[in-house]
Every structure is written in structure tokens, then in C-alpha cells.
């Protein structure tokens, strides 16, 4: 079994009209065994910036602690929050630092930039950014998620409709993946 599939995860982020939504499943497993059904994969960096970390849970926790550290230092020095694009570049750089001994995580970053313009991106475990205008997915259920999101997505959805669409896409995809599921956490900004 691949190291990325050790704990099981599903992450998805979508863009709406001046808003974004990011969702994850809640299962923490050790291969076939479920350890907990309330595991948090999405973390708030600041009011308008969230990062979800799929893949190996221990690396997700370590990476999150490093990112919060870097962001707090940035806040102290610059006296403002990081823009989502800047944060994405920071995550990419931190992941590439470990090019030959990587963190086994795939982050999904979602934030509101200037003028409330939503920003989403994902990257692989060594920091190759993938920007998208509609949705990004990561985790063991990513193939199902691609299909579900492609079918259900519409541009310029308002917050309530975006929440419904994202939830349905997540739940129907994780139902076909044995390593992720047990509910979902959805954040809409």
C-alpha cells in the first residue's frame, strides 16, 4: 500500500461568487482499521485563508505546525496577514526543501485575496502548484472527486448553493472510497 494511502483522506475546494468553500472527510485510519471519526484535516491560517492537508497524517500535522510558525513570523514582521498566493508559494517552497525526503502530503489551499477574489490551488508532495479557476481535489478519493465535481460544478454560485454542491460532491465520492468518509467538515467563506 502506498504511503499516501496509509491514513486515508479526501479534500476538495471550490470557487463561488466572491466566496470559496473547502471540505474534507473526517476519517483517521491505519490502513484498514478506523481509529477516529472526528479527525480534522482543514486548518485556519487566518480569517480568509484555509489549508487542507491530505496524505500521511503525521506529516500533515508537522507541516501544519511549520506553516503556522512561518505565518506568525510573517504577521509579526509585516503587521498584516499573508495573501493566499504568497502563502501558496511559501507552502510550495517548504515542500520542495524536502525534495529528496519529502513530506507525504498534498495540500489544498483556499483563500480570499484582494477585493474578495477567491483563490484555490493544490500541489503535489514536492510543491508543484496547480492553480484552478473552478475546483481542486486531493486525497485517496481524488478520482471520484474529480468526476463528482466536474458534474456538479457551476460557475458563480452563491454561498448556500456552493455549500450544498460541495457537500454532495464530497459525500458521494467518499462513499466509493473505503479509506475516507465518516462524514465531512465544510468551511464556506
Amino acid at each position: 500500500m502506498s504511503i499516501f494511502e496509509y491514513n486515508g483522506s479526501a479534500l476538495v475546494a471550490m470557487v463561488g461568487k466572491n466566496c470559496f468553500a473547502i471540505a474534507s472527510d473526517r476519517r483517521l485510519g491505519v490502513q484498514l482499521q478506523t481509529i477516529a471519526t472526528d479527525f480534522q484535516r482543514i486548518y485556519k491560517i487566518h480569517e480568509n485563508l484555509f489549508i487542507g492537508l491530505s496524505g500521511l497524517a503525521t506529516d500533515a500535522q508537522t507541516l501544519y505546525q511549520r506553516l503556522v510558525f512561518r505565518h506568525k513570523l510573517y504577521q509579526l514582521r509585516e503587521e498584516r496577514n499573508m495573501k493566499p498566493e504568497t502563502f501558496a508559494s511559501l507552502v510550495s517552497a517548504i515542500l520542495y526543501e524536502k525534495r529528496f525526503g519529502p513530506y507525504f502530503c498534498q495540500p489544498v489551499i483556499a483563500g480570499l485575496g484582494d477585493d474578495n477574489k477567491p483563490f484555490i490551488c493544490t500541489m503535489d508532495s514536492i510543491g508543484a502548484k496547480e492553480l484552478a479557476k473552478d475546483f481542486v481535489v486531493a486525497g485517496t478519493a481524488s478520482e471520484s472527486l474529480y468526476g463528482a465535481c466536474e458534474a456538479m460544478f457551476k460557475p458563480d454560485m452563491e454561498a448556500e448553493e456552493l455549500f450544498e454542491t460541495l457537500s454532495q460532491a464530497l459525500l458521494s465520492s467518499v462513499d466509493r472510497d473505503c479509506l475516507s468518509g465518516w462524514g465531512g467538515h465544510v468551511y464556506v467563506v
Binding site: L28, V30, Q33, I35, A36, L56, A57, T58, Q61, G101
Partner: protein
């Protein structure tokens, strides 16, 4: 195979571990204590490679004591869990420890808590957890019978159910178990469940 499991009840947390010290096919002793008392209100049950288990839990115990000496107040359970996770995470890509840990503690402000820490330093706060082959039986038993705020009698009853399940269904089931409890009165041994007693050493 080593069995460690634990659960949180009303105002207390229990950690149960088997007490066999095994090397390959040989059972050295049946009263090996695998649940270390970290400080007055914390328990750390560990399973994994024997040397790593003893050395790592002792290292954490001494560092928890050092913090109390330096700062005059004891660590909270959450802080101790995060410290343990940090040590495991730092060692993970250098010379990793093969120890799975269940850290139970009682804090005056937040009550009892139980933390699951994997050998690859995955940390999660849980109500019930188990490691080893015994986990296949004890987790299912706890899923069926566990509920929030169990009394001590109910919880020990559930623990006994899990032990019976392990003994009857695991092919190389450990003969003896120790149950330790942590509540507002502190961390202490609660009971043993023995089916084999070591023969007493006769005087020379």
C-alpha cells in the same frame, strides 16, 4: 502480541496493557509493567519494540519532571502529548522509535483525556483507543458498549469484556493484564487480571 487499550469515563481515564515480555517464541515474564506513570496525574501506556518502549517512555517521564522543576507547575495532558509527539516526529526521519503510545491524564480544568500517538507520531485526542492485534477485538467491543460518561464499574466491566474477548479469540493471547486509572486523586494501579502467576522464587 502486545495489547494496549484505553478509554475515558466520567472523571477518570483507564489504560489497560498486557504484561508479557516476549522475545521471539519465548515468554520471559508475565508481570512486565508497560504503563508508565509520568507524573501525579498522567499515565503513558506503550507498546512496540521492547528497548524503544522502555527507553522512550523513561525519556518522556524525565522530561515531564524536568519541566515541573524548571517552571514550578506540571504540564497539562495536552502539552505532554504534544511534547511526546514532537519528540517522535523529530526522531522519525533520523532514527525512529517503534513505540505506540496511549497517554491518559487528568487536568483540573478540563477533566480526563486520552491521546492516541502512533509510532509515526500521528496525534489525536480520542475517547477510546487500542493498539496491536488485540485492537481488532477491544475496539469493536468498545464501539458496541462504550458511551460518554461511564461510571468506574461500567468501565471496568467493559475492560473485562475486552480482555475476555482477547483471551478467547487471539491465537497467542497474553495471559495477564494490568489496569491503571487516572482521576482527580492521581494516577495509580487499579487492578490486575491474571490467568498465570509466575512461580515464586524459592530461597536458596
Amino acid at each position: 502480541m502486545e495489547c494496549v487499550f484505553g478509554l475515558v469515563g466520567k472523571g477518570f481515564a483507564l489504560v489497560v496493557a498486557d504484561t508479557s515480555a516476549v522475545h521471539s517464541i519465548l515468554l520471559h515474564k508475565t508481570n512486565e509493567d508497560k504503563i508508565m506513570v509520568l507524573d501525579s496525574h498522567k499515565l503513558m501506556g506503550a507498546s512496540g519494540e521492547a528497548g524503544d518502549r522502555a527507553q522512550f517512555t523513561e525519556y518522556i517521564q524525565k522530561n515531564v519532571a524536568l519541566y515541573q522543576f524548571r517552571n514550578g507547575i506540571p504540564l497539562t495532558t495536552a502539552a505532554a502529548a504534544n511534547f511526546t509527539r514532537g519528540e517522535l516526529a523529530t526522531a522519525l526521519r533520523k532514527n525512529p522509535y517503534s513505540v505506540n503510545i496511549l497517554l491518559a491524564g487528568y487536568d483540573k480544568e478540563t477533566g480526563p483525556s486520552l491521546y492516541y500517538i502512533d509510532y509515526i507520531s500521528t496525534l489525536h485526542k480520542v475517547d477510546k483507543a487500542a493498539f496491536g492485534y488485540g485492537s481488532y477485538f477491544s475496539l469493536s467491543m468498545m464501539d458496541r458498549h462504550y458511551h460518554c460518561d461511564m461510571s468506574l464499574e461500567e468501565a471496568v466491566d467493559l475492560v473485562d469484556k475486552c480482555i475476555i474477548e482477547i483471551r478467547s479469540r487471539l491465537v497467542i493471547a497474553p495471559p495477564n493484564f494490568v489496569i491503571k486509572i487516572v482521576d482527580q486523586d492521581g494516577a495509580r494501579e487499579h487492578a490486575w487480571r491474571e490467568s498465570i502467576k509466575d512461580a515464586p522464587i524459592s530461597a536458596a
